[in-house]
């Protein structure tokens, strides 16, 4: 890892060069329906991007796992069934202004995408993408990245992390991909720029740390042992099971696969985002549903993120971005609930419901 200095002009020139070379560039822009809000979107001009205004409403997930995508085309002929798969190589894209929680989420999800089956579509896009994150200064009271081992200055999943300093940015160049991107656009970082970035980073960290204490490592085991704790009966009463949390979540990655006909003998196989918060997710063909009510479905969300995924892949399936709490129409609040669960785990450490 190295440091360098990227001036404001150098940054604008870098983005302009990429756009001139017809590269796909994604950055935070003002939302089309609400100029006070921000969404990650492909841009055509550097000026469209707005850095440091608001946390983007949706995560980066859709640029790697779109809400719907074609897996293959099929056609039935007299000779049999013709299948045409889609290419798995993706065109190069560069994301500027990612929040460190969104960049880290991609690395967390890589684990399941490359587990028993390597998801070529996911990794095709991952390999074709360079991610330039910004030190996050946009946190609000729903954020808790530091509680899950990350932080507003976290390098995880980013190729470059930019920290605003006098006259431009201090660039933490994290990967060879990041180095290649910045090649020729940066200057040597001064000691003053390094010191100023250091201060900005620790100040940003302090702003999140008070929201939620670190999640203790024992939580995963406690959750596994407390599958039948009475807590689950009351924790999700206000949850509608609408799944808006899963839609905006950077780490929720479940999908459904469907075949859709476009004529009598041809069609496409697609995969679509799905969510464990709906009853259809676990409905068996027999009519039986092992998750009968929202209590069981919300328990699944917590168990999967904070126990099942950690026990299988060694890490929490959550980056503390706070979007689920912001998007919830029922006022469910993940940092608040996690705080309650951790307190319960610490006061009732013994195994219940066995």
């Amino acid at each position: 890892m190295t440091h360098s200095f990227l001036s404001h002009q150098g940054f604008a020139a870098l983005v302009a060069d990429l756009l001139a070379a017809n590269k796909r560039v994604i950055a935070p822009v003002r939302a089309s329906d609400d100029p006070g809000q921000v969404d990650y979107m492909p841009i055509q001009k550097f000026e469209e991007a707005v850095f440091g205004l608001r946390l983007p409403r949706r995560s980066l997930k859709e640029f790697f796992l779109p809400p719907t995508e074609v897996l293959l085309h099929y056609r039935q002929t007299k000779a049999g069934i013709e299948i045409r798969e889609v290419p798995t190589a993706a065109p190069p894209q560069v994301i500027f202004g990612a929040t460190p929680c969104d960049a880290a989420a991609l690395e967390v999800v890589d684990k399941v995408m490359g587990w028993d089956y390597r998801d070529e579509l996911w990794f095709g896009r991952r390999e074709a993408t360079t991610i330039v994150s910004f030190l996050c200064t946009l946190m609000d009271s729903t954020c808790f990245c530091t509680a899950v081992g990350l932080g507003p200055e976290s390098f995880r999943g980013s190729d470059v992390l930019l920290v605003p300093v006098d006259g431009g940015y201090l660039a933490h160049v994290i990967t060879p991909k990041g180095e290649a991107l910045l090649q020729g656009h940066t200057a040597e970082a001064s000691a003053a720029a390094l010191a100023s970035a250091e201060t900005a980073q620790s100040e940003a960290r302090k702003k999140v740390e008070n929201n939620l204490a670190d999640i203790p490592a024992e939580l995963s085991g406690w959750l596994a042992a407390n599958f039948d704790n009475p807590l689950w009966k009351t924790i999700a009463l206000r949850c509608h099971g609408c799944g808006a949390c899963a839609a905006v979540c950077p780490t929720c990655h479940c999908f459904d696969i469907v075949d859709e006909h476009d004529s009598a003998d041809s069609g496409v196989r697609r995969r679509n985002w799905d969510s464990c918060q709906t009853s259809l997710f676990t409905l068996h063909a027999s009519g039986h549903n092992p998750r009968q009510s929202q209590s069981e479905r919300f328990r699944q969300r917590i168990q999967h993120k904070f126990s099942i995924y950690p026990s299988r892949f060694g890490e929490i399936l959550c980056t503390g971005c706070g979007r689920c709490s912001r998007a919830c129409p029922g006022g469910m609040d993940l940092p608040n609930l996690l705080g309650e669960i951790v307190t319960l785990a610490q006061t009732e450490p013994e195994v219940s419901g066995q």
């Binding site: 719907t68 009463l237 697609r270 129409p329 029922g330 006022g331």
Partner: protein, 290 residues
Amino acid sequence: MKQLQDLARKLLSDGTVNVVIGYEAGPRGIRPAFITSPEQADKLVFNIHCVQNLATYLNPRRKQITQLGKVAVVVKGCDARAVAGMIREKQVERGNVVILAMRCGGVLESSGTDSELTADTVSVRCAGCTDREPKLFDHILGELPPEPPVNTRRSDQIAALEKMTAVERWNYWTEQLSRCIRCHACREACPMCFCVKCTAEKTQPQWIDPSATPRANRAWQTMRVLHQAGRCVDCLECERACPEHIPLGMLARYVADAVEKRFDYVACEDPSQAAPFGAFSPSDDEEFIR
């Protein structure tokens, strides 16, 4: 507030109900509350931040709530229309729910940071509200606050849409609905979407493709809003739930206006008045239905 807390405490202590569904201050604004013991009754609040429609929680298939026992629910006038709709359509038995109606002076567009009602912060649904003093209740509480600030945001938008040509309007809605990701959050948060099996989930035949393509999105949202014709109570839970911020409430309003014009019917607080969707009338204008 005290009047509401006292009443809730009494209903819970004398065993009239097992749970009072109301509003409480959460860590980040007002949120739905499920009060199950008299000691918790002082948590209940009612103010301009109480945007949620709690009638949604009366859905008989929400097993986590029905297991709590007999319910009292806090409603505003708009929410009372939803309770009436659920009674009318046999989802809720009138005798099984205690309705605690609040006189209302309007609520914010979204519960959060704004601290007062202004023309810009008031919910579009409060414009011209005729149910500020609810008519469907067991108990009616509070003094009638002054009328909410006048706002014409939605009527202006609808007027602008009506001025468009059909092609322009089609393009507008195609663009809006292209953002739909088919998560169906709108349906789950809607008090009037209570079908055991939604048409969107019927697969034999597959009426609507489940993928988020422009064609399927249009089919899904058109189907949903048509099934809401004369039934939508304009509580805007769909819009609050939508993670893509699609103006679903405006689409529903459009259809509600058409129902009012053609059938002289507005979703109301009287459970005995059948909506055109579920009614047969020998005097119907349409010949095919007679």
